[in-house]
């Protein structure tokens, strides 16, 4: 089955990104496909490569980058939401790309299920 994922909250502030990541990991382990993860609202902050969590904490941004690399998961950051919040190509972490809201709608059309994680 193809899943689309929407994340509306930033890392560390809210559990949304953690829950979404663990959902994606479990889905991939079960042989499902993650069609796309779309980052919207404050969720765009998950794409900042300037993030530096303490050593004893999980690295939420790097975890997403690794998932993208290992499983070819498409991580899309909404351009309008990103520009509002200072996320640009120059501070984008590996594996993420900036694109339009049409990518969210397309995920809704193409995926079998769209699951939203937010506040």
């Amino acid at each position: 089955m193809k899943f689309g994922i929407v994340i509306n909250e930033g890392p560390y502030q809210h559990q949304a990104s953690d829950s979404a990541y663990l959902f994606c990991k479990a889905a991939l382990e079960k042989g499902h496909e993650i069609f796309r993860v779309f980052f919207y609202h404050d969720g765009v902050n998950n794409a900042s490569r300037l993030t530096e969590p303490p050593q004893d904490d999980r690295n939420i941004v790097a975890r997403w980058s690794k998932l993208a690399e290992e499983h070819k998961v498409d991580l899309v950051v909404c351009v309008a939401a990103a520009l509002r919040r200072g996320i640009k190509d120059e501070n984008l972490a590996p594996g993420f790309r900036i694109s339009g809201l049409g990518q969210l709608v397309e995920a809704g059309i193409q995926a079998d299920r769209l699951v939203t994680f937010g506040d």
């Binding site: 919207y40 309008a80 339009g100 809201l101 969210l104 709608v105 059309i109 939203t116 937010g118």
Partner: protein
């Protein structure tokens, strides 16, 4: 599988206090361009998004409420308001800035069941 899916946007949050209502509306407008079957549901404080007479000058924020009136031009005509939420806020259809379909909660729930994609922000 048909390429047209039923998209419902569920709005449960008030405008201005957070950005969710505005950014939700931006997705709605984009979805219209994809020729999908779009409907909007307003429950709880989401109903306040449709309140007439919003004046945002004093908070130096853009008043995005006129956009709801423009939805018609994008062929988005299905705006549903849950009756119980409306009444709980002491509002009636006359207090809203756009024509809506008022549905009792059970009918709203049934409508949700019929959707392919339910987005809430």
């Amino acid at each position: 599988m048909s390429d047209i899916k039923k998209f419902m946007f569920v709005n449960r949050k008030a405008p201005y206090g957070t950005i969710y209502a505005l950014e939700s509306l931006e997705v709605v407008l984009i979805t219209a361009a994809f020729d999908q079957d779009v409907s909007l549901a307003f429950l709880d404080d989401g109903i306040y998004q449709l309140r007439k007479g919003q004046q945002t000058k004093g908070i130096e924020t853009k008043n995005f409420s006129p956009t709801y009136r423009a939805l018609d031009g994008y062929d988005i005509e299905k705006l549903y308001v849950e009756k119980e939420s409306l009444e709980a806020r002491g509002l009636s259809e006359d207090d809203l800035l756009v024509d809506v379909i008022v549905l009792p909660r059970a009918e709203m729930g049934e409508l949700m069941d019929q959707q392919d994609v339910v987005l809430s922000f």
